[in-house]
Subunit: 201 residues, 2 copies
């Protein structure tokens, strides 16, 4: 029991540290994150943080994983309560638009990470790519189910539709900062509806 | 004549400085640009640069203007040689995809600027917003002409179609870094064709 308590406390501590690291990375990018700045921010020693994450790279990968967990919990997981088909796909997209609103304060960690690492081979780039692939697979699955229910045309090019969907939250994010979230959201929703109509049987 | 020569030399010198400043800003963002770092990069005194740009803010605005000129020269101006309508609009989009390939080394200054300034009121944000508005107006004009030629439906929501077009180079830029430019370009072209088809009379 004592060991378990320690483990739970350790896990909670790790979560708190990752929360703070996530906040720093959202504002300054993953490359703006170092063991030193994080140690200062959470009031820990650098050696204590090294014990948690092993290295700066380990910390960056842990923050990426933590961001992906948040994203899945916000965007994807709640949509699984919807019936498969357009109800679920539409909920995913709606939650994704909502995610974009919530990241608007500090910028989106994933977009920053793509731009930081897309031309820098290494474990961070590999992780970003893997996360993006997994997300597209999840979207492709949701699209395929909507083909299965007959709500989308049987000859739907699933990967292509995933691309066309993906473009919308990206632009809503871009436009929210310039024209306000509500205007951008209205355009994004309308574009999604037009897109789905164009794939309807 | 002597004065004219000096002016021409001054303008050429200014272009050279802006070239270098543009390169720095593409890699490090406009906020990564300072009179000091630029002075070092071009081998000039800081006071010499102040004489050219007045202030760091003046330099940042000049770089934004210079980037907009490059963008217009690459994307928009050549398309004006095409007949009004879908020929011209399609050329704009194709040139925009091509622009995305060329900025891929250092990242897109405009996207970086949106993310740097969208939540920071000031002259830089004003300029970024003004440039984005002007670009959408140019796109809206090109779309309207294609409505005028009868190639797009008369009830086309011009602003909405501009939004839906804008999303595509944005995602091609995002995907190029992860999956390679050619794959991203093929998806982007197909999406544009599908989009235009969905607005066809």
């Amino acid at each position: 029991m004592a060991a378990l308590t320690v483990t739970r406390k350790g896990a909670a501590r790790r979560e708190t540290i990752l929360d703070r690291a996530y906040g720093i990375a959202c504002a300054a990018g993953l490359e703006g994150l170092s063991i030193g700045t994080l140690a200062q921010a959470v009031g820990m020693s650098k050696s204590g943080l090294f014990a948690h994450f092993g290295s700066r790279e380990g910390l960056q990968l842990a923050v990426l994983d933590s961001a992906a967990e948040r994203f899945v919990a916000h965007v994807f997981a709640p949509a699984l309560r919807q019936p498969r088909g357009l109800a679920r796909l539409g909920t995913i997209v709606e939650n994704w638009f909502d995610w974009v609103r919530h990241v608007d304060d500090g910028g989106c960690l994933f977009l920053a990470a793509v731009s930081e690492y897309d031309d820098r081979p290494g474990p961070q780039r590999d992780r970003v790519l893997e996360q993006d692939r997994q997300w597209r697979q999840a979207l492709a699955q949701a699209v395929s189910l909507a083909v299965g229910t007959g709500e989308l045309r049987p000859d739907t090019d699933v990967e292509q539709l995933v691309f066309e969907i993906y473009a919308l939250p990206l632009l809503v994010h871009h436009d929210a900062g310039l024209y306000g979230y509500d205007t951008a959201l209205a355009r994004g929703r309308r574009a999604y509806q037009r897109l789905i109509d164009s794939y309807s049987p």
